[in-house]
């Protein structure tokens, strides 16, 4: 008996020695992860949550920093992390214009930089041999966004065509890389028979999306500047813009604020609205959208002396608000879905392609956060261990997988399967 017990114990101890080998993080100094938002993990369906998981699997110690949409603050954080001697710098950029400054600072100290979830100029990435960019494949994202824009225009043409000229005037904020491709895709679809629209005088036409001002489309990359530019446009002519395209949710939210200052895109009854099509980076919509949930305004409360007609109207409006409120609570997050089961609807708040109208954000999930995060973590592991940065990163197309990873030079693209509505 004693022999059996001692044999079992020896086996268990051997197993534990085997298991415990390799404990402890692989990096001596921390990896700094710089986020465009607040850098806090709030919801499961978010890239930051996936990053936590991926870094844990690779056994990398790290710290999150949030720039709260402030590009200058992010550069400051990057420089502080570099001065501290971080093992690697992972950056989700607030503004693509900050990329070069961050790369140059890191280069001086020989610290690897991985940009992720942001569109970065290829030349900037290639200027430093320890710089990599991981982003959703632009053509896939643009394809999805283009189709959503076309579908949206077809369904809402009469409301959108504020100046009734048969065309939709749009403005774009960002680098223009995604928005140009998305608008091109949308126009290709709108030119087909399936996408004919009906004008106010009931004529069937093929509409198109056109630049509001071709000289002033891509000048604003930072959120605050975009908001300011939109405010200026609204000041000049409220009906000049009928559709907005941005490449970042942070930019979209600043633009939304500018519209709301002019009483557009609010959650009030019969609000004017200009849809904003955007690519998501920021997961935390929940608080924003719920804060904007419609409430019954005090002027709808029935007062003494109200005529029967007024009471009837007020009751009707209250009912409408109640319905709207119910709709918000049920459909606040998503309208169009890709790779999302209906059962997920209540929970899914991370969106990649979004449409913002009437204070409501809807969107299409195409991002596989885990694929992006795992790619980033593996690249960091490779840098720390002195392997080739992109060794083992590319993946082959497999059935049942949402995304595949393609490596071209220093650019890692996460490609998604075709958008299906």
């Amino acid at each position: 008996m004693k022999r059996i017990v001692s044999l079992i114990l020896i086996a268990l101890l051997t197993l534990s020695v085997f298991i415990f080998t390799g404990c402890g993080a692989i990096n001596k100094s921390e990896v700094s992860i710089l986020w465009s938002g607040d850098g806090e993990v709030k919801v499961p369906n978010s890239l930051i949550n996936s990053m936590d998981r991926a870094m844990y699997i690779e056994n990398i110690s790290y710290v999150h920093y949030g720039a709260n949409g402030d590009a200058a603050e992010q550069i400051k954080q990057a420089k502080a992390a570099i001065d501290k001697g971080c093992s690697a710098l992972l950056v989700e950029l607030v503004s693509p214009m900050s990329a070069l400054e961050i790369v140059n600072a890191a280069k001086e100290k020989d610290i690897p930089v991985v940009f992720f979830n942001t569109l970065v100029d290829k030349a900037v990435v290639e200027s430093y041999d320890k710089c990599v960019s991981v982003f959703s494949a632009i053509d896939t994202v643009a394809d999805v966004q283009g189709q959503i824009i076309a579908d949206y225009v077809k369904a809402n043409f009469k409301k959108l065509d504020a100046n009734t000229d048969g065309k939709i005037n749009y403005v774009a904020y960002g680098t223009g890389v995604i928005s140009t491709a998305a608008v091109k895709k949308a126009n290709e679809l709108l030119a087909t028979e399936d996408y004919t629209v009906q004008t106010a005088d009931k004529k069937k036409i093929n509409t198109s999306i056109v630049f509001y001002d071709s000289t002033n489309i891509f000048s604003t990359l930072a959120p605050i500047a975009a908001g300011k530019a939109q405010a200026e446009i609204m000041e000049k002519d409220e009906k000049a813009i009928e559709l907005i395209v941005t490449e970042s949710d942070l930019v979209a939210l600043d633009v939304l604020c500018a519209l709301q200052d002019k009483d557009y895109n609010t959650n009030k009854l019969n609000t004017h609205f200009i849809p904003i099509f955007t690519v998501g980076e920021e997961a935390d919509y929940k608080a924003y959208v719920l804060a904007g949930r419609p409430e019954i305004p005090s002027d709808l409360i029935i007062k003494d002396g109200d005529s029967d007609k007024v009471i009837k109207q007020k009751n009707k409006d209250i009912k409408k608000i109640a319905e709207l409120k119910e709709y918000y609570e049920k459909n606040v997050y998503l309208v169009d879905l890709t790779y999302v089961n209906e059962s997920e609807l209540d929970e899914m708040i991370y969106t990649t392609i979004n449409v913002i109208d009437s204070g409501r954000i809807s969107g299409t999930v195409i991002a596989d956060n885990d694929t992006i995060a795992v790619s980033v973590a593996k690249i960091v592991r490779n840098f720390i261990k002195g392997n080739g940065a992109l060794d083992g990163i590319a993946s082959k197309v497999k059935d049942g997988e949402v995304a595949t990873v393609v490596v071209e030079g220093s650019i890692v693209s996460v490609r998604y399967k075709a958008y299906t509505k």
Partner: protein, 486 residues
Amino acid sequence: MKKKKILDANGKRKFGIVDSLAYAAGDFGCNMSFALKGTMAIFWTQFMRMDSILYAGLLILVQIWDAINDPLIGTIIDNDKKRKYKRGKFLAYIWLGSLGLLVAGALCFIPWVKNSEPLVKAIVFVAGYILWDAFYTIANVPYGSLLSVISNDPADRASLSAWRSIGSMIGNMVPMVILPMIIYDSNNNIIGERVFIAALIMGVAGFIAFQFMIRNTVIRVEENVTVSEAPQKFNVIKAMGNFMKNRPAVGATVAAMGMFIGMQAATTAVTVMFQSYFKNVAISGIVTMFAMIPIVAFTPLARKFVVKYGKKELSVVGAICSVVACAIMLLAPITPDGKGLVIYILCQLINSLGMGVYSTVSWSMMGDAIDYNEWKFGTREEGTVYSLHSFFRKLAQGIGPSLALVIMVALGYSEINAGNQLFSVALNMRYLVAALYLFAAVMQFIGLALIYNLDKKTLARMTADLNALHGANATESAENGEADAQ
């Protein structure tokens, strides 16, 4: 030619494989109803959207009902000595319970009140649970007591205990493996309607198993054993006192509580760990089944090992294995990928081997504890000893999951996030699972090694004494009978 039945000295069918199969079918039936209990927390918090703390509170509330229900039914059965039943009182009660369990399991998973007010949901939960629990107890308490009246031979009892474990294991394993593949969607979220249908199907399967057991069980030991000549007055407080003095019963109960804390309290945390940490809840059943392999391998050898080494000695070694495996599980770098999963499975393999050794002899140990009561205090009190054991086991099953759920909430678990918790929370669940298993293993060790005192030698002495006593009583009764006849 009709096969001739082999009868024993009392004219009853000789103990054999049919008895063991029938007894195993009984626990299979119980588990068809009980196995879904582990899904209740996930169903009520993630699908029905009941607040986790409210659920934990309600679970404690229904355990209070359990606390009243268990000894009550145990006492009713013990005191039911006058009425005559065709198949004996234990089987009659089991039949009644099995009838209720046909649908009672499904009553705990009514999905149509999902969008109702919290109060309505709370009422539906409590009512469903109480009904299920009542029928479960009516079937389960006499089922546990049945072991000691099927045979008084320690080897037969060990065999029954081992077969009970097999019945329990199959009853646990089938739903454990199949259910996660059916009741969760591809995003690891539970589908409530499917749980309800599964509960109904399992109710029918359980009913069939109970009927098989009832028809094939032979009672060989008198159900209402009266050792002293004058009928004793039943006293619950005294019985409780005796129970607390009954070291084997207390030891086996502490060990069982440990085992159930490990198996039941950790269930919800294990599910959440597979949902959010390994991100594959469908595989959880297969992993658990894989971990059961050592128990399956050990069960046929149980009787041989018990005869050679003794029940206590064997289960203490098992408990040591569990403690070491769970300590490794807690400290090892189990990452949320394939590598981590392999380490987790290895640890579970050793842990379940340890737990399995005890599980195969646990009921037999309780049978011995009932004998110990008679040996030390002159009364058998099967129903009371078993129901008190059952009460403490249920306490572990009830308080354990409630407490575990409260700890889970404290560690960040949010029912709103359903099958997709934050990674930090998922990581906490991974550690909580290991900690709960370790706690369970330590409790098992304490119960078996430090409290349970029937080692191989003492058990042999006790059996000899009791056999001598029963023999003397039988002779005395026979002589009295002859005298009366003259």
